[in-house]
Symmetry: C2
């Protein structure tokens, strides 16, 4: 396979992959493009390579910066802004896990804690099934939280040993 074709393929697939995980296709494609680009790209470069509008490019670049997956870089003697992506995928994974945990898992655990204290007699089948389900989800969620926290802090080299420690 030729480089140009392989690049196309990767950008398209990364975009499709993203949509399955609730990530905007364009955002994932811009990220992919920057991942495989040796040099920083300008908004114009991105617009051209992905055939998207300026507004779309701008919005999604900003979102990527907000997720700390992309950085603005200044190129000497250039007025335009340029952008690069973090190339270390392990860091990228950690960053995404960190953000999604903060935005989604933490609030969910907070809600579960409230729902577990529902009023009513535990001998009532309806109440028991509900509180049992919530407690069960809370427990698994709590486990996930601990694991993810370790993963977020972990340097790849001590990923293994750290992961082992949390279960001590």
């Amino acid at each position: 396979m030729k480089l140009a074709e392989a690049k196309q393929q990767f950008v398209a697939s990364w975009g499709a992959f993203g949509t399955q995980w609730g990530i905007n296709r364009t955002m994932a494609q811009i990220h992919a493009l920057l991942l495989i680009s040796p040099d920083p790209l300008s908004a114009d470069d991105i617009m051209e390579q992905l055939s998207i509008s300026r507004g779309n490019a701008n919005m999604n670049i900003r979102e990527l910066i907000d997720w700390a997956l992309v950085n603005r870089v200044i190129v000497a003697g250039e007025r335009k802004e340029y952008f690069t992506a973090e190339k270390d995928i392990w860091k990228v994974v950690r960053q995404i896990v960190k953000e999604r945990k903060k935005r989604e898992l933490d609030p969910m655990l907070k809600l579960l804690d409230e729902l577990e204290n529902v009023e009513g007699d535990k001998r009532d089948k309806e109440v028991k099934t509900f509180t049992d389900a919530i407690a069960n989800i809370r427990r698994v969620g709590g486990q996930a939280e601990k694991t993810l926290d370790t993963l977020i802090k972990a340097d790849e080299s001590w990923f293994i040993s750290s992961l082992m420690k949390i279960f001590k």
Copy 2:
């Protein structure tokens, strides 16, 4: 908080949570409803409790069955079909991980293997950046695959010890 309100809250939140992960809101809500229901529910029960149409209920129930998160049950003396959800959340997590891995991670790794063999001179900066990025993603993906395979096979009780083994 009263039980009825807590149930509502849980179903709504589970639905919202699902959408952030690329899962249809109704599908997640039906799943939530069945998780906290002591007895199996019919399509009519689900339609009524979620205020959705028969078609919508049918489609999403079928999708949940396809994901093996929901089962049809026969209620003696009843003509209608009834449905239950697996109540053990640990099993649910494993099932979801198993399906998503099969549907998404495995094909992605297959693609990365192809893309890594792109034609061209490795001394070319463009080629090198591309193959390095792909190799890097492939490596992290491979690590994820091993971890998830262990998680899928793991019984909760030996979750810990199994997880430790993969990194030996």
